[in-house]
């Protein structure tokens, strides 16, 4: 029964449901990868700004974090996709210029990226605060400029500390990407739901989706653990293990 429903033709007429689910998995993986990069870049910048002693820099960073952390992801999706284009014609025109699925994917990356960036920023802030204060003092005593202190001494140590919590945040990103079904992005979950509706075999459709999500989360986990080991400092517990 399971195999039979996977081999039925999908609603788009582009092949079987098995193929459709795999394409959805690819789309989910692509959206996750792009939003991960967005979240990492913005998260590091906002996390750095958050620890600044100057209120003009720290306050907007704090507002950014609270804004993207305290509104549910679904509501953020609805605002990005439905409310913002109404309120801002320029945004609507930019969105209209793209094909519908491309626009949906772009919104998903933007929305998931900013949502996750707030969480990354909090981790980066905690990582920076956990670096021993003597490190910055020693770097300044050696004559490094403020930018160098940050870039060469504090950030490399802080980011290593951030990697383990970032691993679980990255796996959350895989799960969170399924909320994009609310704006109609044909990612893995939406396709498995369509398959259930069309074939009546929700058990197989959802069962396969669970396995594919687990596979994606596992891949993300492996990649993060590899990264952790690659950058582990000699002499620490994480070094030299493979």
């Amino acid at each position: 029964m399971a195999i039979a429903s996977l081999l039925q033709p999908n609603i788009e007429g582009t092949g079987t449901w098995a193929g459709s689910l795999l394409i959805g998995t690819g789309l989910t993986a692509g959206v996750v990868a792009a939003s991960w990069l967005t979240a990492a870049a913005l998260g590091i910048a906002v996390g750095l700004a958050r620890t600044s002693r100057r209120a003009v820099i720290a306050a907007p960073a704090r507002a950014w974090i609270e804004l993207f952390r305290n509104v549910p992801l679904l509501v953020q999706f609805l605002i990005w996709y439905y409310a913002l284009p109404e309120a801002w014609p320029g945004f609507k025109q930019a969105l209209m210029r793209l094909d519908v699925p491309v626009g949906q994917a772009a919104i998903a990356v933007l929305c998931l990226g900013l949502f996750t960036s707030a969480r990354v920023a909090e981790q980066v802030r905690a990582g920076l605060l956990a670096v021993a204060p003597g490190q910055a003092l020693a770097a300044r005593a050696l004559g490094l400029r403020e930018g160098q202190v940050l870039w060469r001494v504090l950030l490399p140590q802080a980011l290593r500390r951030v990697l383990p919590p970032l691993t679980s945040e990255s796996m959350n990103l895989v799960k969170n990407s399924s909320v994009a079904l609310a704006i109609g992005l044909p990612e893995l979950f939406l396709r498995s739901k369509d398959m259930g509706e069309s074939t009546g075999d929700y058990v197989t459709a959802f069962g396969v989706a669970v396995l594919l999500y687990a596979a994606l989360a596992f891949a993300v986990n492996r990649a993060m653990v590899k990264a952790e080991r690659a950058v582990a400092l000699p002499g620490t517990v994480g070094a030299g293990r493979s």
Binding site: E66, L67, R69, N70, V71, P72, L73, L74, V75, Q76, L78, I79, Y82, A83, L84, E86, A87, W88, M171, V174, K175, N176, S177, S178, V179, L181, A182, F189, K193, G196, Y202, V203, F206, A209, V210, Y213, A214, A217
Partner: protein, 228 residues
């Protein structure tokens, strides 16, 4: 963001309030139910009976690796089939969006609450359970009278923070046609073509409530901290 249209809002606020009350009720019930089930799971997870501990672990790991929307739709669409099979009845019983929502959030949150409770118990000094057992308490009494009360005090702030996460997660129930705050706003927005006002308002409501709650949890955490 464009301005919120107050006239539009004034006309529909009772519907939004009804949605917000549904959201709060679901959060509270699932929070209490999830905590109770979570404590049971944590105790099972720490049990010396290997099969019990293993079963609890599999449940928790599985729940935490599946997207919430998948659990939500799974319960909503497959729950009736499962019940039909268990009850061996001739037709699948109707469970409806409301009951599916309550069941989903209790089952899903319990896995997260379990990990919080377990961390709270495991984090206690070893001497606490040794001393309790040395005083002649049974393992069950040691758990109920000595370990759980201390662990609960330690983890109350984390539990409450998870409750705020739950409050935000509940927004997903609109996807299976339960009418929470977001779904109420969605219906009105589509009927009146007032996307900006409706979604903007919902965003502000969530922002204000979540921020206020997390401030409260922070203050409580500082009061509850056990001086060392």
């Amino acid at each position: 963001m464009g301005p919120i249209d107050w006239a539009d809002l004034a006309a529909v606020w009772p519907l939004l309030l009804k949605g917000l009350l549904y959201t709060l009720r679901l959060t509270l019930v699932a929070g209490v139910g999830g905590t109770l089930l979570g404590v049971l799971l944590a105790v099972a997870r720490l049990s010396h009976a290997r099969w019990l501990s293993r079963a609890a672990q599999i449940y928790v790991d599985a729940m935490r690796s599946i997207p919430l929307v998948l659990v939500l739709f799974g319960v909503y669409l497959l729950g009736p089939q499962l019940l039909q099979w268990i009850l061996a009845s001739d037709y699948p019983p109707l469970i409806g969006a409301d009951r599916a929502a309550y069941v989903t959030f209790v089952l899903f949150e319990a896995a997260y609450f379990c990990e919080i409770v377990r961390a709270g118990i495991v984090g206690l000094p070893r001497g606490q359970s040794d001393a309790a057992l040395a005083l002649g308490l049974t393992p069950r009494q040691a758990m109920r009278l000595v370990l759980l009360p201390q662990a609960l005090r330690h983890m109350l702030p984390v539990l409450l923070t998870q409750l705020i996460v739950l409050f935000q997660d509940v927004s997903l129930v609109g996807l299976i046609n339960a009418t929470d705050l977001v779904a109420a706003a969605e219906k009105i927005a589509q009927r009146d073509n007032t996307m900006v006002t409706m979604y903007g308002t919902v965003g502000v409501v969530y922002l204000v409530v979540s921020l206020a709650l997390s401030q409260g949890v922070g203050a409580l955490g500082r009061r509850l901290a056990i001086p060392r």
